[in-house]
């Protein structure tokens, strides 16, 4: 059958100011979607608008600012029900019969609760603290805290006693310290480029926090960052062996992901290059399929079995985390996860990013992280088991303001993925799944990967961590608090603006002014 004529039209218009254009062809070389071309005979540049995804790579790199990429102003007949996106998705499906894929997080206008929460600040009484002059503690310890700590004097019972040091006699659980409550989310090599993973690990090491390998294995060369790396065990078990588990600081079992709760992942065969195949330990060119469930987990008891298998494999020296998507009844599920023996519970919300997900799943499944976090924290506290696990949340954190509100709602730390990508060039064009990322972030085509210089990218990431950490300190100081630990779950520092009563109840916060 001959290719079908598409009934869609360009989403973006490429405008070139010919007075400014110097025919340098940077746009031609930079575009990975085959939009720009140069005709030497005519000495003219042409653009195929239909191919443009709006990633802005050409506009940013045009030395004379001759390019403007605009959203196509062409409208279908105005219709409050059928938006242009709906029309285009239906047309694409009529032309292919396939599931519509997308990348990055949910872009639909669900309520963003961070924008309806405001923070407190000290005035007159309990004065604010100036973080420029006084120490502010952002260090966070992740892992299971013991029920109680029992001390005895060193040498007790041997006739000594007074003056000898006091030491804990209980075996402490393994904890991992991070210098700021920010970590880089799980993003797998294969889904992201080699240089992106390198930059994330390098920045995590430089700042004393963690980067997560995702489920795609861990290249040998990056084991040098092992003090700052979390490894993931997902249903595909790619690259998982004793060395992988034992090299990491902690191990995360991935059950679910906010962008695609309830479904697995397919890394298409064309993205499984020689290097990716080596790291994942599967043949080159074969699909890397992560089934939706782990086939050894059908219950909380089974999850407990995998948690303890991993603890046994790492000799109880590393915390084990379990990551789930925020869904209905998330608090009951989280309680089960803690009781199954997890040391860290990770919850990924409705707006969490992805390299590839069916759009219908990304845009319709799961609940906002704010509500999930607040409910899980309250439930674990009520059951008296909050100390048994740290709570890490993920899913579309855009600023340090979102992060500090999450901590006040009960989070120990926050995973950032999308923000990290934006820091190194991403413009959220949502085309990660094509493998063509012009910014070299999610592509594994060698000529594109090298666009992302790991040194420069690591510097940008480190700067982002530093900037957000400074802002968190400023806000903490303003509240008269000198340690992030003192804010955790401290909802009295939050008030709601413009929310319904049920929403404030779910979040556990009062309305502003009360």
């Amino acid at each position: 059958m001959s290719p079908m004529k598409t009934h869609t039209w360009p989403e973006f218009i490429v405008e070139r100011n010919d007075d400014r254009c110097i025919r340098c062809q940077v746009c031609v070389n930079q575009c990975t979607f085959d939009v720009h071309s140069y005709d030497a005979g005519l000495d003219e540049l042409f653009a195929v608008d239909m191919n443009c995804v709006g990633c802005q790579r050409c506009q940013v790199f045009c030395p004379t600012n001759a390019l403007t990429i605009r959203t196509n102003p062409t409208q279908s007949r105005p219709n409050a029900n059928w938006r242009l996106e709906n029309l285009f998705d239906v047309k694409k499906q009529a032309e292919s019969g396939g599931i519509v894929l997308t990348g990055m997080g949910n872009d639909k206008p669900f309520r963003i609760y961070w924008d309806h929460l405001v923070l407190n600040a000290s005035q007159v009484t309990n004065p604010s603290i100036d973080p420029l002059r006084e120490p502010m503690e952002l260090r966070t310890y992740l892992g299971r805290k013991p029920d109680r700590v029992v001390f005895q004097r060193d040498g007790e019972g041997q006739g000594e006693g007074h003056g000898s040091p006091v030491v804990p006699i209980q075996n402490m659980t393994p904890l991992v310290a991070i210098e700021t409550p920010l970590m880089f989310s799980a993003m797998s090599y294969g889904a992201i480029s080699y240089n992106t993973q390198h930059a994330l690990m390098r920045a995590a090491q430089a700042f004393g926090t963690m980067a997560n390998t995702g489920e795609g294995g861990w290249p040998r060369e990056f084991r040098q960052y092992k003090e700052n790396v979390i490894v993931q065990v997902a249903s595909g078990r790619f690259g998982v062996d004793l060395e992988y588990l034992n090299d990491a600081r902690f191990v995360e079992i991935k059950v679910g992901q906010g962008a695609k709760p309830g479904i697995g992942g397919h890394l298409p065969g064309e993205k499984v290059t020689l290097d990716v195949s080596r790291t994942r330990m599967i043949p080159e060119g074969s699909d890397a399929i992560s089934p939706a469930p782990h086939h050894d987990i059908y219950s909380i008891e089974d999850l407990g079995m995998l948690i303890h298998a991993l603890k046994e494999a790492t000799r109880y020296e590393k915390p084990v985390a379990v990551k789930i998507a925020a869904v209905h009844n998330v608090s009951a599920i989280a309680s089960g996860i803690v009781r199954a023996g997890a040391d860290i519970v990770v919850i990924d919300g409705l707006r969490g990013g992805t390299g590839a997900a069916p759009k219908v799943i990304r845009d319709n499944v799961g609940i906002p992280i704010e509500l999930a976090l607040a409910q899980v924290d309250q439930r674990l506290r009520k059951e008296g088991i909050r100390h048994q696990a740290s709570l890490v949340v993920a899913g579309g954190f855009r600023s340090s303001g979102d992060v500090i509100k999450a901590i006040a709602l009960g989070a120990d730390a926050v995973y950032i993925g999308t923000a990290a990508f934006v820091a190194i060039g991403c413009t959220l064009c949502q085309k990660c799944y094509t493998g063509k990322c012009a910014w070299g972030i999610t592509s594994n085509r060698p000529e594109v990967v090298k666009r992302l210089n790991p040194d420069h990218a690591a510097e940008r990431l480190e700067n982002l961590l530093r900037a957000w950490s400074r802002e968190i300190k400023e806000m903490l100081g303003g509240m008269g608090i000198n340690s992030v630990e003192s804010l955790r779950g401290n909802r009295l520092h939050l008030r709601a603006v413009g929310l319904e009563q049920w929403e404030m109840d779910a979040l556990g916060v009062k309305g502003a002014g009360l």
Partner: protein, 271 residues
Amino acid sequence: MAPWSYATPGAYAMAGPTNPVRMEQGRGIVDASGIYYRQLNEQLRQLVKHGIREIEIINCYGQRYLGTSIPGDYQLKVYGTPGNDLGFAMDGPTIEVFGNAQDGLGNTMNDGEIIVHGHAGDALAMSMRGGKLWVRDSVGYRCGIHMKEYGDKVPQVVIGGTCQDFFGEYMSGGTVILLGLGLAEGEKYKADFIGTGMHGGRIFVRGHVDPAQVGKEVGLTEPEPEEQEQIGAAVRRYAELFGGDAAEILKRPFVKLYPKSLRPYGRLYAY
């Protein structure tokens, strides 16, 4: 006080009761009765660390994860019934079980060999990447699920009896040989959805397989001559381990199940 929890009582208690190890002609003999798996594995680790290469566990009563965190080249004989996830992420040793194995045998196993003189449960060889499994009798559901191979690491599983549904599901590498001993000539395996989602590896089944019993991603054919040799070698080793007449077993022909595509879901999406 919090209600029931896996985590609070035993999991972090380091010191628990253990039974003394008995040494007999260089072999370490551990009596597992009344011991938690964590202590048992710690005892094994200490023995291996001290250079003991032959270890026997007697009175094994469901202790999990045996051989998990102790890589190396040693022989472990287990008398009794080991628990789930025997050989999880195992890397090197040879384990021989005189009894039945439970679920998750050889889960995510990397290297080594496990021989079971009895039956094994569900999800055997899940995500197994290397090494060999030998099961004298039958196995449960979803065995061989998502097995892998990479380079010269090709896992091999040989099962003497029969299997349940979803055998070799999502298989992406490795070799599985199912002998069906005990089935009459032409008698069907009571298993459906064999090889559903298969996109790599190979399954050899002795006797009859109906096309309706296999996943839609699976093709049926005759094994190639060199594959016949591989099957022959495996059957001879099986007979060596568990008894039986290899030549007699090999008289009944084998069917090869193979993935029709390395990319079963390539056309699933719209770009």
